[in-house]
């Protein structure tokens, strides 16, 4: 294999359909994994915020006890605040990208690091916002008097359910059941978010880790 001949042929080969744009605006957005992941994450977090804001309107469609309504708004406000803080933090973080002009190995390591950090920040943002959601939903439905449940021989419904739930006016056994239900819902939210994020975005990390392995002799 004559590398000099290959070089001459490569240089003699026409550039086919590859041309340099006449201005920077003609370039499309970057398609590097980190940019694609960050773009999707940004829109997902903003979507989450929009959904939270829409949730604020829910009590307008339901007749609720004033205390339930107040609690619901406080919980929604905290959720919105957490999400907003994460959006602010992420906007700063998402604009930071590792240098691509260092050595190839450092570039790959930097990209893996950035992707992992981005993924962790994303998971925390989604999970932190979502963990208050079961409490908001419980306040919304129990406070509207439209929900009734039976626990053993005890029938709970309407405002009675709301006050019992949120003043923890129940036996230790039922308190443990409520905590258990909340933890199960929280675990489902956590597991779904982690699986969703890893499945959707983890693939890019795996590919880059495979590339990093290729540096090994």
């Amino acid at each position: 294999m004559n590398l000099d001949e290959i070089k001459k042929k490569m240089e003699a080969e026409g550039m086919k359909d590859l041309s340099v744009p006449t201005n920077i605006k003609q370039l499309e957005k970057s398609k590097l994994p980190i940019q694609k992941v960050r773009k999707s994450m940004r829109s997902e977090i903003i979507t989450q915020l929009v959904i939270i804001v829409l949730f604020f309107a829910a009590p307008l469609m339901l007749e609720m006890h004033q205390m339930a309504k107040g609690l619901y708004f406080i919980l929604q406000f905290i959720t919105a605040l957490i999400t907003l803080l994460y959006i602010a933090k992420m906007t700063w973080f998402l604009n930071k990208t590792s240098s691509i002009s260092g050595s190839s190995r450092d570039t790959v390591i930097g990209f893996i690091h950035d992707l992992k950090l981005t993924l962790e920040v994303y998971k925390t943002a989604i999970i932190a916002g979502s963990l208050i959601l079961p409490l908001s939903v419980a306040a919304l439905f129990s406070g509207s008097g439209k929900l009734s449940i039976s626990i053993g021989r005890i029938q709970l419904g309407g405002e009675d359910l709301f006050f019992k739930l949120f003043s923890l006016d129940m036996s230790a056994k039922y308190l443990l059941i409520c905590i258990g239900i909340y933890l199960i819902v929280a675990a489902i939210i956590y597991y779904t978010t982690v699986k969703w994020a890893d499945g959707l975005y983890g693939i890019h990390i795996n590919k880059l880790e495979e590339t990093l392995q290729e540096f090994e002799v």
């Binding site: 050595s103 190839s104 002799v217």
Partner: protein, 167 residues
């Protein structure tokens, strides 16, 4: 380095051969090559501020182009109607009369079977980079590069031989 858009694009035009060779080395379909070619320009534009002028602009461009190719992944799904350049060139169907054309076509066909780091090594060897320069660009020790270069060249030779071509 502060540079105007016009000056930047003029520099890209002057050294576009680097971008072409990297794109051609890493992808065989025109669509993927166009995507990578454009991505390299984006990354060069985004990183031009980090160019200190201590090395040749072309060397710096080469490094950014290679790094971009290494962290760039082609689209999973291909749009119909986009063919491989080899197919466009008639590599599969037409007989080549010219020995050198055949040599380059076989070279690119064999390169497809190399991994991203092996491609980077071969491209830099073709360009005449020294072992020290390749080691610096890739972030590996010179000793490791020597071993990897030897193995990569052997691997490429074997692939070319299995293709039924010997240069």
């Amino acid at each position: 380095m502060q540079i105007t858009e016009e000056a930047f694009l003029a520099a890209i035009n002057q050294h576009k051969g680097i971008l072409y060779k990297v794109s051609r080395m890493y992808f065989d379909t025109l669509e993927d090559q166009q995507d990578l070619f454009q991505e390299i320009i984006i990354q060069l534009w985004n990183s031009i501020g980090s160019f200190k002028g201590t090395s040749e602009l072309s060397s710096w461009m080469y490094r950014v182009a290679l790094n971009t190719a290494i962290v760039f992944f082609k689209k999973e799904k291909k749009k119909p109607g986009r063919e491989s350049l080899f197919e466009n060139d008639g590599f599969a169907d037409e007989a080549y009369d010219d020995h050198k054309d055949q040599q380059l076509a076989h070279f690119y066909e064999a390169v497809k079977k190399l991994n991203k780091i092996e491609k980077a090594i071969i491209l830099q060897l073709v360009e005449g980079f020294s072992g020290k320069e390749i080691a610096q660009n890739l972030g590996m020790s010179e000793g490791n590069i020597r071993v990897k270069t030897k193995r990569t060249k052997e691997k490429l030779q074997n692939i070319i031989k299995t293709q039924g071509y010997e240069s």
